[in-house]
Point group: C2
Chain length 352, copies 2
Amino acid sequence: MGRVTLKSVAEAAGVSVSTVSNAYNRPGQLSAEVRQRVLETARSLGYAGPDPAARSLRSQRAGAIGLLFTERLSYAFSDPYSVGMLAGLSEVAEAHRTGLLLIPLASPDSSTPQDVELDADTMRQAVVDGVVAYCVDADHPARQVALDRGLPMASTIELDDDRQRYVLIDEDGAAKALGRHLRELGHRNVGVVVNSREPAGAATLLSADDEEDLYYDSRLRLRGLRQALGPQAQVTAVSAGHNSQEAGRTAARFLLDRPDRPTAIACTSDVLALGVLDAVKARGLAPGRDVSVSGFDDIPAARAADLTSVRQPIAEKGRLLGRMLLDPQFTQRKVVLDTELVVRSSTGPAPH
Amino acid sequence: MGRVTLKSVAEAAGVSVSTVSNAYNRPGQLSAEVRQRVLETARSLGYAGPDPAARSLRSQRAGAIGLLFTERLSYAFSDPYSVGMLAGLSEVAEAHRTGLLLIPLASPDSSTPQDVELDADTMRQAVVDGVVAYCVDADHPARQVALDRGLPMASTIELDDDRQRYVLIDEDGAAKALGRHLRELGHRNVGVVVNSREPAGAATLLSADDEEDLYYDSRLRLRGLRQALGPQAQVTAVSAGHNSQEAGRTAARFLLDRPDRPTAIACTSDVLALGVLDAVKARGLAPGRDVSVSGFDDIPAARAADLTSVRQPIAEKGRLLGRMLLDPQFTQRKVVLDTELVVRSSTGPAPH
DNA sequence: GAGAGGTTCTGTATCGTTCTACTAGAACGT
DNA sequence: ACGTTCTAGTAGAACGATACAGAACCTCTC
């Protein structure tokens, strides 16, 4: 004897399969007493309700949306910024009674072809009605698979493709506001610490090629900063790998050791900036006086550390991504969110 | 014309459906050249690979495990403790190339019957091979549904049910170690701040009944503390709602205003303790000298705040939960993890 | 009392796979 | 030449539900 199915319940209750199905899905279509009897026999047989896989197949709905991350999944939970987005997204999913399927990608990016093929496979496996691609490159194979499957997609990068919708932060405006702030404070020699795709390691100066290969947002932020600081400013871009405090510390030490020490260090994320603050203090320098330090994202820890940063409506970003997939009323293809420069004591006038 | 399926690819390539299926799933079963041709026609037709819903139905595997949270899903991302568990769990899921489906529960606990029914429904919907029930009460309806569906389950609470496996932290031992620490420091009047199921609000003294109704871990921690502090100590248990800094602040103000102010305030979580620290400092009192404060969990922020806490191998907890569902080699039904008391400057000798 | 309209319930095709059993033919050993 | 084994591929029955069309029956209406 196999497991309990609609059919066995129908037989036991003396009704047709359709009726049992309706008892679960369309209570209005049958009399209260029959429904009652059906549900009772179901319970007595230990039937746990219609099998979701079968239902998915037949009704062509999955009842879940997928979340695609470029970074390893575990990273998603350790970065406060992603966590904020997840909170917003899950809020919407919750409201629509829709599951959220985290789709693990093996390959960060430039991995072996096998890894890439595995990623594509993983995306093929996912039982979802739509996909949020969070910081996933435009040409990532998993993204292509999702599109081939005809899944609606909402991303965080600008794309010239009618099938894809996206939510952006005004990275450029944010970076420029921060750049202007630093310029007005008199900083003409600015170090910029970015997070790169490399795992971790020694701090390195970024070549023009390296800059091209940065993450979408890091690239925009660096560019905006450059523009706002103006051609007469000296900008030194440095990376020490992934987004982490450790990378920030390493990069900061590198910058502080240079013969012409920058008077300000701008970071493309708060996590990096917290590391920079560490290193600055370890040298006995006062942030905001001897060296100005700024971050990006305004995560909770930034406020605690009195770090100048750029606040982004990150939870709102998650909510909008969710609505793009779940709320039929919501039809905008592109949304750009405003940011706000939050000046705290970690930035101050450039010392002479 | 409908969408592209195995069948249409088979027709176009002039082979049988089984062969196309094999081309994707069992490369060894057919000649390289036929496989090549099949995959090419598939690509040219825009076929994105076997439909996962159909595959799930037929093969009775979902390729994903579910995560059941009692708290609202968005809470999961704002609590550093859950985040740590998620990181561990997702690490294992990733390694097994398995998705992680977050299952949103509408009702925290004692909600309307409709809500409860909705929760059960949500659990019925989930296409998963197993379920991690994280801090979900033993009698929660969603848990029952999962069991009825015959899904393997791994929880964080002790259960007397052969079908369920669990990972525990030695809450009792941890609480006792902390209690001993406080007693040795001379504290005889201790306030305990717990997180309750109530949303938020004013601080209230806990009745014996209230204590029974606390979350599993809060209950154990409170009990262990009481035991270790001994019968001669006065223990005042207070709650101000959910696990949040705000609740900690509220509860602390309440305790500090009492005629016989406690010399130590122990909290059942670090998040609460951070709020307590805030309130203590706001009163101009020095933590560790005027009032000792301790937390639980040892989240990263606890170290930064120099808070005495109990370290729990939280990521390991997540990993074990994952392995219980995914790793066939792993057969233990019950695992109890050790903890470590981390003494920092927020606790000190009781003032006379 | 015939037709219209509304409930309530039924029968069956269908969703897109994978699985099991089978076959035709090649290869092999004796 | 004969039986056996192996390879590459096929046919058709599941998997467990939902959608859709229609049947049976009851209630009005004129």
